[in-house]
Symmetry: C2
């Protein structure tokens, strides 16, 4: 069965979209589902929809659907909040599980918000915790008995460089550290098998490869044997064992429900649920194969045309996520010019032109055409006409 | 100008809705706005919509619109996340502002999730903090120099009993305690003037009286002179001074933006923004007057018909929010029967039948008809036919 299913998306005419790693495309059916939730459920059933449409069960139901794509068993993934909040939940639980240890280990390739959340947690705890940041290549050697939690993003958001999940997880466990994986650029992009991995926690967002829409809910995975050990810091009523008993004291649910916090964003969850319909029969290994064909082809086609661009992603497919990045001094201007010519990628400071590959709605002809357009922008210096030549970072 | 504007809502035929204090009705225009965000912005502009549709500015823009309704100046209200998360942010900041004090004072009328979040924060801090819970009438006397923060919900979710915000805030300040008000049942229901009040923090949700839809984003108000003092625990990248500089260290924005955490729920924010259009020309004092007329009329009409129901809300209008509650032994069954007869209220354990009054889409004829129906349910023992006679609290 082919992976390509462009007919399941509403893609704008005349655009080649290579930024599904930032915000996935609009799946067909998502608007209808939003309308249905708003008109038939909210508008007509009003408060009764919490029962009649089973809104209360939606976060776990959607979590299970994501679980299938990342190798997590039913009942181990909960959706809600934002990825930053889910990072905080995982980190706080990890520190609690290793009360005598004081180091959170991460790498300089981690997404800034993950580091910021760790910094915020440490500042709040006001004890001698340390966020230790090493280079990606130095992670293995930095895992010691001091480390409470190893927190890494699987695929580097700038370069797509992959960490080797099994070996790092094994190293963390060999030193009795808790392993937290951020799957922001992996869920829906790579074949991840959390059950086989044995990591304690994974978190991720759903508005990239999973196409859940802008601000779609995040998710958190907790290894099933650990769920009942967690005493949530973010002890919201939706994670209570009996939310509507309105007890004065918090008693966490005896399931993944305890990772819920407040009232779920029902409309966004329903849109995400509709977006997941597209994934029903997708084999993640076949998707990964298709992704590597597309990204490899893009590297070849761009390098052949643009010797002034320097590949910033791993050349070896097995070490590369579902994106390709090129460093170029005038990258910001070049990306603007490229977008003006109908090929949408994005830019990450200081000089990274970033291109994401989403095999559900991108084919080889798109990739070749994108490379041709990029070649014209670079070789004909079209970027010199871009409105902004550099990005103002103070906004 | 009249407050009533039923024509601005899509209300189901044959229903009298007295539960807008739990989930507000669907405003006209909200579905169109959601469609526009999804089709034109997400679907067509894709990632570019963050700039072209100014999604990045939406949380603050919507915050300012809520600010007008609660007497908060521009730049002091931020939307996002859930109310529970906003409670956590306010509490953590308050404890940080009073580092030598160890008591969070609240009352038994507070909403459970507010207490749970305090318990979760205290457990995480793992020091000698105490959540001190007193009866609502005992709050004044319990404000001492030990108290770091007084955290109260203005209107009791079960009875609608109001706290006197000015006198409690003044008492808190007389003892140098930080004041946090939860406006869940006040925003869009009462005339609140945060600027005059001088409280340090206020939080609230937007899916009740503000009609933002199920799971609509919450809000937090920070007194403007304090914003730059807060070192957020939930230090997400959206609250960073330069989110896209991707700096390794967290530097909070020098504005209310620092209360942001992760990527905002754009679709739900846009729906809320559309819902706030209805409020553009609403005078909050006139709304409060209309609310008291409706709730007073309901009390009269119900008491005249149903001597077996005991008023659980304050009889005096100035002490009552925008809801009326009656205690009735068979309240759960009676509420089911009432809903079956077209009048929607809700039930709160152990025996509270709760009715909310939303003058934007409810008039005196509705109130009289609702009381007549309730009279029939009670006096003809219709509740004995309800499917469930008591609510199972272990779900």
């Amino acid at each position: 069965m082919t992976i390509l299913r462009k007919e399941r998306f509403d893609l704008p005419e005349g655009i080649i979209y290579l930024d599904g790693n930032s915000l996935g495309a609009l799946p067909k059916g998502a608007i209808e589902r939003a309308n249905d939730v708003m008109a038939a459920e909210w508008g007509t059933s009003l408060i009764r929809a919490w029962n009649s449409a089973d809104w209360m069960a939606l976060p776990a139901k959607v979590g299970d659907r994501i679980g299938r794509l990342i190798g997590a068993p039913a009942g181990s993934v909960m959706t809600g909040d934002t990825l930053s909040i889910k990072v905080y939940q995982a980190l706080q639980a990890a520190l609690q599980m290793r009360p005598k240890r004081r180091v959170i280990l991460t790498d300089s390739g981690n997404f800034p918000s993950d580091m910021y959340m760790a910094q915020g947690l440490i500042r709040t705890l006001d004890r001698d915790y340390e966020l230790r940041v090493v280079e990606p290549e130095a992670v293995h050697a930095a895992i010691t008995e001091e480390v409470a939690a190893v927190m890494l993003t699987h695929a580097d958001y700038r370069t797509g460089r992959l960490h080797d999940m099994p070996s790092i997880t094994a190293a963390a466990h060999a030193h009795d550290a808790v392993m937290i994986w951020d799957l922001a650029h992996s869920a829906g992009a790579l074949a991840v098998d959390l059950s086989a991995l044995g990591a304690e926690f994974a978190v991720g967002c759903t508005y990239k490869y999973l196409n859940g829409g802008p601000g779609a809910p995040a998710f958190i995975y907790v290894r099933p044997d650990l769920i009942s050990e967690i005493a949530p810091a973010l002890a919201g009523w939706m994670g209570h064992d009996a939310p509507f008993a309105m007890e004065p004291g918090y008693r966490p649910a005896m399931s993944i429900e305890r990772m819920r916090v407040g009232t779920p964003a029902i409309v966004q969850l329903a849109i995400l649920d509709a977006a997941l319909d597209v994934w029903e029969d997708v084999d993640m290994h076949a998707l990964r194969d298709a992704s590597l064909v597309l990204s490899g082809l893009f590297i070849d086609e761009v390098e052949r045309r643009c010797p002034s661009l320097e590949l910033a992603s791993p050349r070896e497919g097995s070490r590369r996520g579902s994106q390709v990045s090129f460093a170029f001094e005038h990258g910001y201007a070049a990306m603007q010019a490229l977008i003006d010519h109908g090929v949408i990628g994005d830019f990450r400071a200081p000089d990274i032109m970033r291109f994401g590959f989403t095999p559900l709605y991108l084919d080889e002809a798109d990739v070749v055409q994108a490379a041709e357009t990029l070649g014209a922008v670079i070789n004909q210096d079209l970027w010199r006409h871009a409105k902004y030549q550099t990005r103002s970072l103070v906004t």
